[in-house]
């Protein structure tokens, strides 16, 4: 394939990765920003979102679109409630101590993974997309006949993939509105900046934490519901999103929500675009080192303040 179309297809793929990553990482970023804890089980909430999506779509099963919409509403809700319960039962009891949270959430990870394996099984299970038309993309060239529109072989995407990007933007915009325009957002931001002060002003910090933890998990689940018609639900699918979200949150600058979005776009797009120039594994190595070097020379992240 020529360079131009190749570049376009890689960028499109990068954009889809970025969209999902932005949602998943935003969940982790909110938790990290407000509660200052490392939630190792975040990827498992993502996985649960996908598994519940399969389950809901499977149960409803009348029309793929109906099942999908139901999953998009139900999966984040269920996962969010479960996460909030985990917060109450475990994290609150250990006072959000950073080290203990790591061990506790690793424990949670084992529990969720094994329970899924025992109920859902080890197979990767697909969810049918609500719509999925292959869209060929035109390209141009200056040939013998001057400017021409052509339809290169293989250059295309699907309507569902474009929808994923759109849906991620809608959800993130909604989240941004909540965080900046509503009282809930105000309380969350106040707790993030100084939880002692927030407590003094009568903010029920414990309850806010449970909500935040639930919201973070729900965002991961939402990302998973969007991705599951492209990929499949599988009990080990949480590993990569966890690592990538982590990286995105730190690169973006701790607790900076716009930074998280920018970093997600940076990482998703670079993953796609670097693959144009190098052999696949080498591209992964380079993309990984690029991200590491960004942090080495800008430890506070892209939008973080120096000396946090």
């Amino acid at each position: 394939m020529d360079f131009g179309p190749h570049f376009l297809i890689a960028s499109l793929e990068g954009a889809i990765t970025a969209a999902i990553l932005a949602l998943t990482a935003m969940g982790l970023s909110i938790v990290f920003g407000v509660m200052r804890v490392v939630n190792v089980a975040h990827g498992e909430f993502y996985m649960l979102g996908a598994v519940i999506a399969w389950w809901v779509a499977h149960l409803i099963g009348i029309h793929p679109a109906l099942g999908f919409v139901a999953a998009l509403l139900l999966a984040p809700l269920l996962v969010g409630v479960l996460a909030a319960a985990a917060d109450k039962l475990i994290l609150q009891k250990i006072g959000y101590d950073p080290d203990r949270t790591i061990v506790g959430t690793i424990g949670l990870l084992y529990i969720i993974q094994q329970s899924t394996l025992m109920t859902f099984g080890p197979d990767a299970r697909p969810v049918q997309p609500p719509f999925n038309t292959r869209l060929s993309i035109p390209w141009f060239e200056f040939g013998d006949n001057g400017f021409e529109i052509i339809w290169p072989w293989g250059l295309g995407t699907t309507s569902y993939k474009l929808f994923v990007i759109f849906a991620a933007i809608v959800i993130l915009t909604g989240l941004w509105a909540v965080m900046t325009r509503t009282k809930i957002g105000l309380i969350m931001r106040a707790t993030q900046q100084d939880n002692e002060m927030a407590r003094a002003f009568g903010v029920p910090v414990e309850r806010v934490y449970a909500w935040v933890f639930g919201l973070g998990a729900a965002l991961a689940a939402a990302g998973a519901v969007l991705v599951v018609p492209i990929q499949q639900a599988h009990y080990l699918m949480g590993g990569d999103p966890l690592l990538l979200s982590f990286i995105v949150v730190i690169i973006g600058g701790l607790g900076s929500l716009p930074g998280t979005v920018i970093a997600a776009i940076f990482i998703g797009m670079s993953d796609g675009i670097i693959s144009v120039f190098f052999s696949p594994t080498l591209a992964k190595i380079i993309a990984t080192l690029v991200v590491a070097m960004v942090l080495v020379f800008r430890p506070q992240g892209l939008l973080g303040k120096a000396n946090p």
Binding site: E13, G121, P122, A124, P129, L236, D240, S275, S279
Partner: protein, 432 residues
């Protein structure tokens, strides 16, 4: 005989221990009927340590390896066991991890007192475990289709008699691909050793047929989206050769279809790319008319043998290769027969060696090394095989199926000779 009682299909050590008690009682009752010589022998069960991928990336395979192994053990027990002794399967999860794999082999040898270890699939687990098996001098029968055993990198205690290896599978495909599909091949494979074996052995083989590999696209492991790599497929490609493993296989195949749209080249894949996946999953419609290598045909064919029929019934697999209790639960049919056949070979080997206990382990290996012809039978439902005692590797027929109306129809069977290559090792020269 005694069908109800000698069934030992253990899942955990605890159930195994319970079953052991029952098995011993029944076996001692059954023995006199097997002939006088049996009376003198111990009625203790023969313990087979079963290293199974219950968790980790191999879990989808592990579940079916488990079912096949238990079915095979039950059949052997129904037929009177081995040397009059019942077989007991002691299963331990290796987590599809080479470190745990080695620990599990050690546990079989020194804790459970197993007679042999058996069963694992993923080749890195084989590599991690084989040194311990050799040191502990416990025969280690793998069902992995890796080229590790025949390459000479392992040791005299490691054998692969029940399934063919990737080198022979891959090279046997080249004549079919070049005669029927095209000469210019693009290969897409995972960027680890298993994928590299495909790359190297197929490239060599297709060049011998006058074809060429025009591009080799290695996909990094744990990758979950693939479209961005497909533009590297050259426009003049006549055949795309694909093989992928792991949970993302369905995404891979689906995205391949979406990439080509209406104008796809010929496609030839290893069924590994869709093992345990329903071929009628949404998004796979484009596979109609493409070809797959199969270790054993997933769909019952019109000329189905009685052996295939009996094997399916015993394991609980229907004519579409799915579980008889859940049509959505598709088996790993192209690989799991290896567990069945390996256990039958172990039985034959133990009988030939008059195996009595761990002291006879070397005799067991020599007995298996002495085997060569393994005819198509209930013991070998996948087909006839030739075992090479020097390289500890079996060779057999390979199947190529075409997707037609959402089924895999057998379209070509290779000869066993197609799969031969020169010996790379002679394990029989190594001391025990």
């Amino acid at each position: 005989m005694n069908k109800k009682n000698t069934i030992i299909s253990s899942i955990t050590r605890r159930t195994a221990l319970k079953a052991l008690g029952a098995g011993t009682i029944v076996a001692s009752g059954a023995l006199p009927r097997l002939g006088g010589y049996a009376q003198a022998q111990s009625s203790e069960p023969i313990k087979i340590g079963f290293q199974v991928h219950r968790t980790g990336i191999g879990a989808a395979y592990g579940r079916w390896y488990d079912r096949t192994t238990n079915a095979a053990a039950q059949r052997i027990n129904d037929m009177g066991g081995i040397n009059g002794r019942p077989v007991e399967i002691i299963a331990e999860d290796d987590g599809t991890d080479p470190k745990r794999g080695a620990e599990v082999v050690e546990k079989f040898a020194t804790q459970h007192g197993c007679d042999i270890a058996f069963g694992t699939l993923f080749s890195h687990v084989v590599f991690g475990s084989a040194p311990r098996a050799g040191e502990l001098k416990i025969p280690y029968f793998v069902v992995s289709e890796g080229h590790h055993v025949a390459s000479g990198k392992l040791n005299r205690y490691t054998l692969q008699p029940g399934i063919t290896d990737v080198k022979s599978q891959v090279q046997a495909m080249a004549p079919f691909v070049s005669d029927n599909l095209g000469k210019k091949v693009t290969m897409i494979f995972p960027d680890f050793a298993f994928g590299h074996d495909h790359r190297d052995y197929f490239s060599e083989a297709i060049e011998r047929q006058g074809g060429e590999v025009v591009a080799k696209i290695a996909i990094p492991p744990t990758e979950t989206s693939f479209t961005k790599y497909f533009p590297n497929i050259p426009r003049d490609t006549e055949v795309v050769y694909h093989v992928m493993v792991g949970p993302a296989v369905l995404t891979f195949v689906k995205e391949l279809g979406e990439f080509f749209g209406p104008s796809r080249p010929e496609i030839f894949g290893f069924i590994d790319s869709l093992e345990a996946v329903d071929i009628n999953s949404p998004g796979l419609e484009f596979l109609e008319g493409t070809y797959f290598w199969e270790g054993m045909p997933r769909y019952a064919q019109p000329d189905q043998t009685s052996h295939d029929k009996a094997y399916r019934a015993a394991v609980g697999v229907d004519d579409n290769g799915a579980s008889t209790s859940d049509a959505k639960d598709v088996s790993t049919f192209a690989h799991m027969f290896g567990c069945w056949e390996t256990l039958n070979i172990v039985k034959k080997g133990m009988e030939a060696a008059d195996y009595k206990g761990p002291d006879d382990r070397a005799k067991l290996i020599e007995a298996v090394e002495a085997m060569s012809d393994m005819p198509l039978s209930d013991d070998h439902p996948q087909g006839a095989k030739l075992f090479n005692g020097k390289t500890h590797q079996a060779f057999g027929h390979q199947y190529i199926s075409k997707v037609k109306d959402g089924r895999l129809d057998l379209s070509h069977t290779t000869s066993i000779e197609d799969t031969f290559y020169d010996d790379e090792v002679d394990y029989t020269k190594q001391p025990f």
